[in-house]
């Protein structure tokens, strides 16, 4: 089973890299870009788990390691690779 985890800076936390990228886009002439926030995507492969169990484990590992809940939010999704 494959899962994709997204870790992003919490709302209201200044994200300096995104701000720098937004400025660069503005200097390239893309005035339409209002803001950029950079986060992380992690692709995770799991074995011997049901979807329900996988979601429980993903929640746990996000809390314990993948995200720092002080500054980051996380979401994840199960990617069904059996159909592809």
């Amino acid at each position: 089973m494959k899962a994709r985890v997204y870790v992003t800076m919490k709302k209201g936390v200044l994200e300096p890299q995104g701000r720098a990228v937004a400025r660069s886009l503005a200097s390239l002439g893309y005035g339409e870009v209002k803001g950029v926030r950079i986060g992380k995507v992690m692709d995770i492969e799991m074995k011997d788990v049901t979807e329900e169990r996988a979601e429980k484990l993903l929640e746990e590992i996000c809390q314990k390691l993948l995200a720092n809940p002080v500054i980051e939010d996380y979401t994840f999704e199960i990617v069904d690779d059996r159909k592809s």
Partner: protein, 233 residues
């Protein structure tokens, strides 16, 4: 009296900390490899700076899972003094031994410079020889030193006198222009509620001998050694 300097893969200020304890203060000192599971017999533990595990995922995020960290928690729970310097501070934050988190410097630049710190509290084993308001000149060298905490945590830090050092100018004024990295409220160092764990971004071990241009860092080690010897109430 025995000091332990933790060594993780990627620690690089371990030798400097060891040198200060062992050769400047003549303290019996060991390097303690991160796979160790006990800190029995140590009176002081230093979590040194560096780039543990290449700063993968987040600074300190991997190191917090090393076996020695459970031993460190036991050491902290029985009141042992611990100082985390730079990456050591980041590790203590990730491990939950200190509140808050570190982010990239607002400038997005690695900063290697001397900064001034104002001592905010005398009430920790590492600042007991200093006065509240004392100004220290100590070098910083970091990319992720932008301290951040929730408004509730900041309020707690202030209410419980847990802010240990703030970035200031040479005259001891805590002003925005003296803030090298964007840290909230110019925070350079904090302690836990029980006061035995201190984390700071600047490097006192790099300025503890006259040959290095400043001995301001020495006061921090001297304080804890005197505290342990019972010279300070």
């Amino acid at each position: 009296m025995k000091g332990g300097v933790l060594v993780f893969p990627g620690s690089n200020c371990d030798h400097d900390c060891y040198h200060v304890l062992k050769h400047v203060f003549k303290m019996d000192t060991d390097f303690v490899w991160h796979k160790e599971t006990s800190l029995e017999g140590y009176d002081l533990v230093v979590v040194p700076g560096g780039f543990t595990y290449g700063d993968y995922l987040r600074t300190g995020a991997m190191a917090k899972l090393s076996p020695v960290m459970s031993a460190l928690k036991t050491f902290v729970n029985r009141g042992g003094p611990v100082i985390g310097i730079c990456n050591g501070f980041q590790i203590l934050l990730e491990a939950g031994l200190l509140p808050g988190a570190m982010m990239a410097n607002v400038s997005l630049k690695f900063i290697c410079d001397h900064v001034y710190l104002r001592t905010e509290t005398q009430d920790t084993p590492f600042t007991s020889n200093l006065q509240r308001g004392s100004v220290l000149k100590i070098p910083v060298a970091h990319y992720q030193g932008n301290y951040m905490a929730s408004p509730e945590t900041l309020l707690e830090l202030e209410d419980n006198d847990q802010i240990v050092f703030k970035y200031c100018d040479a005259g001891g004024n805590v002003v925005e222009s003296a803030n090298p990295n964007g840290s909230v409220k110019n925070i350079a160092g904090i302690c836990n509620r029980e006061r035995n764990v201190v984390g700071m971004m600047p490097h006192p071990e790099r300025c503890s001998e006259p040959e290095l241009g400043s001995v301001d860092g020495k006061h921090i080690f001297e304080s804890v050694i005197d505290s342990l010897a019972g010279k300070v109430p």
